[in-house]
Amino acid sequence: MKKELLKFGAFALLIMLAPLAFKGGYLMTVLVFVGINTMLSIALNLLLGYAGQISLGHAGFFGLGAYLSGVLTATYGWNPWLSMALAAVIVGIVAYLIGFPILKLKGHYLAMATLGLGIIIYIVFNETVDLTGGPSGLSGIPNLSINGITFDSDLKNYYLVWIFALLMVLFSLNLANSRIGRALRAVHDSEVAARVVGVNARLLKVQIFAVSATFCALAGSLYAHTMTFISPASFGFTFSVELLTMVVIGGLGSIYGSFLGAALLTLLPEFLRAAHDYDIIIYGGLLMVMVMYMPGGLVRGIPELYRKLLKSKGKTALKSEGGVEHA
């Protein structure tokens, strides 16, 4: 337990000090996105990695958060904090209600249903032009502000987003090592056995689905207020797949893995400017390679690889020793 806390402390410190290394600059914008994507991939990981339930519609919840915040503030002049809270609550309730029928489905069927849900949401963003501005997007979303400080620079947004992200990391770590987290993992491993010892698998899945969607909505609100402009293109199926890739690359059921996956997949395209349009090839290839050769994700796969390497080195060392004896 103490070790966990230390690990989190070190992680938080690293995040808080990171801007010093980058001294503002262009990369700061990207690091804001890393924060938002970390929230999203943690949200998806709680559902997929812990409860073992897939969603291909999480970009939709992200978008709902963003649009609820955006429309309430830009069009109706609400207080951004209030609209953010309301967006989270609404999305949480919607996900909770829809969770009951949708999580009755398993495996492929659940994947298809969530995919369909995400696409319906995406179509609504595009078609309700009066409300959302349609495909051309919604602009004029105000920045968040507190005590006269307006979060209008990359550096300020970095801290804003990462405070939320770190709180989410902490919440998720706590959850993972609690009776609820264990029950979720139990449902993942054997739903029938979990139910037999009294875990209400159905309710639990719906609850975690709602929490996951709420996290996405929060990330969406933050995205809207930091970008001040949103358009449906950011919330389509491709982004749901990108989130899935982050979770799978980092490691299913690993909170820090989600951060790693989010960071890699957000930073990678920045370094591969030339490959800009072809990011879907990279996502597709990565997804396939990871599932085939490193199903535990990087957080488990790399230490494993390292151990294997050490072992094979150890073996060759032994062999050569044996050789010496012979000689």
């Binding site: 078609e127 072809y278 090839i281 396939m288």
Partner: protein
């Protein structure tokens, strides 16, 4: 609302519906043989269209030669997909299969973009574009091609599944894979066959619809999902129920687009999909089966 107009919507709905039916049967065949929902199914539809274009324009083949070449090439794609993505998978849990077929799907899409660019292309209709009047409505010759070819494909399919040894073996796999294996059916071969058949059917669907809807690297996603919707309506059958599912979906979509709003046309399929999955996951025509643990 004029009767003629309704007829018009229904007729054009039927031809898109036929496409959904072909794609849906492709989903069902793989699902029945393997238990996998192949998320990459739509990409073979795209490949059908794009490859035809490739053979037509770059290799200057006549259309009657370009089409079989495109189907053959897409089928090779299906074989490669099964060999490289499905077969090597060690932990074949449903979630891993979903992830791998999605990965494969967007990889194929990306490669198509890399090869042929992002532009939308037109393929000439098979026999002119002189509208034909039926009652008060008109149809294009291509609509008739679509319906005709669909009927032929379904007939061939039926013949294969009921009158050939390999088709019967495939049906045996659908009922019980283990038992099929025990009586000496090479199940892995059947899995490969199922990918061959469904990628070929997907490619045909993509080719015959291309003159009507244009073709681009990213058309596979939506068509694939609608084909899946048709299969769900049909209760994942590889026969007539899924054909009906496709036709129902096509007509509903066309009516919805005409009567309500064309912008929500795509949403209709997904709303139907969700409602069916929630209320009648066994399909519109199927009987409820008690699930065994």
């Amino acid at each position: 609302m004029q009767f003629d107009q309704l007829l018009q919507y229904a007729l054009s709905g039927l031809s898109t519906g036929a496409i959904y039916a072909l794609i849906g049967i492709g989903f069902s065949i793989i699902y029945n043989a393997t238990g996998i929902i192949n998320f990459a199914q739509g990409e073979f539809v795209m490949l059908g269209g794009m490859l035809t274009l490739f053979f037509l324009e770059l290799l200057k083949l006549p259309i009657w030669a370009a089409i079989p070449c495109a189907v053959a090439a897409a089928t090779v794609g299906g074989i490669l997909f099964e060999r490289l993505a499905i077969r090597p998978l060690r932990q074949a849990t449903p979630i891993n299969l979903v992830i791998i077929t999605i990965g494969g799907s967007i990889l194929i899409r990306g490669l198509a973009m890399l090869l042929w660019g992002k532009d939308t292309h037109a393929i000439p209709p098979f026999s002119g574009d002189e509208p034909i009047a039926i009652g008060g409505a008109t149809v294009l010759p291509q609509h008739l091609w679509i319906l005709g070819i669909t009927v032929i494909i379904i007939a061939i399919n039926k013949f294969y599944f009921f009158h050939t040894i390999s088709g019967k073996a495939m049906r045996a796999c659908a009922y019980n894979r283990r038992a099929a294996g025990l009586v000496g059916i090479d199940v892995r071969r059947m899995v490969l066959f199922s990918f061959v058949i469904s990628s070929a059917m997907g490619a045909v669907a993509g080719i015959i619809v291309a003159p009507l809807t244009m073709v681009a690297y990213d058309v596979g996603g939506m068509l694939g999902l609608k084909g899946f919707c048709a299969a769900i309506i049909g209760g994942m059958s590889s026969g007539i129920s899924t054909v009906l599912g496709g036709l129902i979906l096509g007509v509903l979509e066309s009516l919805g687009a005409g009567l309500i709003s064309s912008g929500y046309k795509d949403a209709i399929a997904f709303i139907i999909l969700l409602l069916l999955l929630f209320l009648r996951p066994q399909g519109l025509f199927g009987k409820a089966e008690s699930e065994r643990v």
